[in-house]
């Protein structure tokens, strides 16, 4: 068994149907190929969702095992890449839910406040634009990532699935066990909550 793994290059390509056939036949090389081709993308997903490197690597390992054990249930309608992406997203979601959390903001406290007549209680102040310089953008990404972690779980998971992992409405709704309509409402509330938490970093200082 080779102990020096090959990291996949973009040139690595494999035919999904043939690969699945080999995997189902218990072909060790096929599993090795599956891992080499898809581990980079899965690790990127896990890092985006979990942030912590050791947790991310554990999630990738768990996802590959889940995939292997669930081979018989995969109907091949989606690509292998999409199937594995869903598995690692779900694995990360379970890990996030199981992790011990600091006390959360209440979801309602992060929504806009209104007067009785329906107008904003406090006027929204203009925000500065997103930075264009690379270093500032790196810093911004760090801030946004940390701020996502401050969101109540109900908001955090929908932002991660829709805005970070790019799942479609129906797919994200199915993963969270809610209707598509409920998912849209939840995503809007989650973006509003994130907006509230980012606000102090973005409001323009009035001269």
């Amino acid at each position: 068994m080779p102990t020096t793994p090959l990291n996949p290059s973009p040139a690595v390509r494999c035919d999904d149907a043939r690969l699945l056939e080999r995997l189902r036949g218990g072909d060790d090389d096929a599993f090795d190929l599956l891992v080499r081709v898809h581990a980079r993308a899965l690790l990127a997903t896990a890092r985006r969702m979990l942030g912590v490197e050791s947790d991310s690597q554990d999630a990738v390992q768990e996802a590959f095992l889940s995939a292997y054990r669930g081979l018989s249930a995969f109907d091949g309608r989606a690509s292998v890449a999409t199937w594995l992406h869903r598995i690692v997203v779900n694995t990360c979601l379970m890990r996030l839910r199981a992790a011990r959390r600091k006390p959360e903001h209440s979801p309602l406290s992060l929504l806009p406040e209104y007067l009785e007549d329906g107008h904003q209680r406090t006027d929204t102040r203009p925000w500065r634009a997103l930075p264009t310089q690379t270093l500032e953008r790196v810093e911004l990404c760090r801030l946004v990532r940390a701020t996502i972690d401050e969101l109540p779980m109900v908001h955090r998971e929908v932002i991660l699935l829709r805005d970070i992992e790019g799942l479609g409405t129906d797919e994200a709704a199915a993963m969270l066990g809610i209707s598509a309509g409920a998912l849209k409402v939840r995503l809007h509330r989650a973006r509003q909550a994130l907006r509230t938490l980012l606000e102090p970093h973005f409001v323009e200082v009035l001269s």
């Binding site: 068994m1 102990t3 020096t4 793994p5 990291n7 996949p8 599993f31 090795d32 891992v35 080499r36 581990a39 980079r40 993308a41 690790l43 990127a44 890092r47 985006r48 690597q57 990738v60 390992q61 590959f64 095992l65 292997y68 806009p112 209104y114 007549d117 329906g118 107008h119 904003q120 006027d123 929204t124 102040r125 203009p126 925000w127 634009a129 997103l130 953008r137 790196v138 911004l140 990404c141 946004v144 990532r145 932002i159 805005d163 970070i164 992992e165 790019g166 849209k184 995503l187 809007h188 973006r191 509003q192 994130l194 907006r195 980012l198 606000e199 973005f202």
Partner: protein, 83 residues
Amino acid sequence: MSERPYITCRELIDFIADWREGTLAPTERFEFERHLAVCPSCVAYLDSYETTVAALALLREREAPPAEVPPALLDAIRKARRG
């Protein structure tokens, strides 16, 4: 004849997601934009909402797949599968 009342800030902010997706009914869209034309605070809110979504997109783009997967992880996956 009195002028039709404007929708409230609450209604406008509730409509933002549908407005962005282009799924508001024509009448609602008209009222959304009529409110924006007279409410600087909602203009600022909508702008800050867009900035938030754009910042999320930036984060998504930046976290591209790593150039390499740690060899120890690849080994661990293979070993785990063999049980």
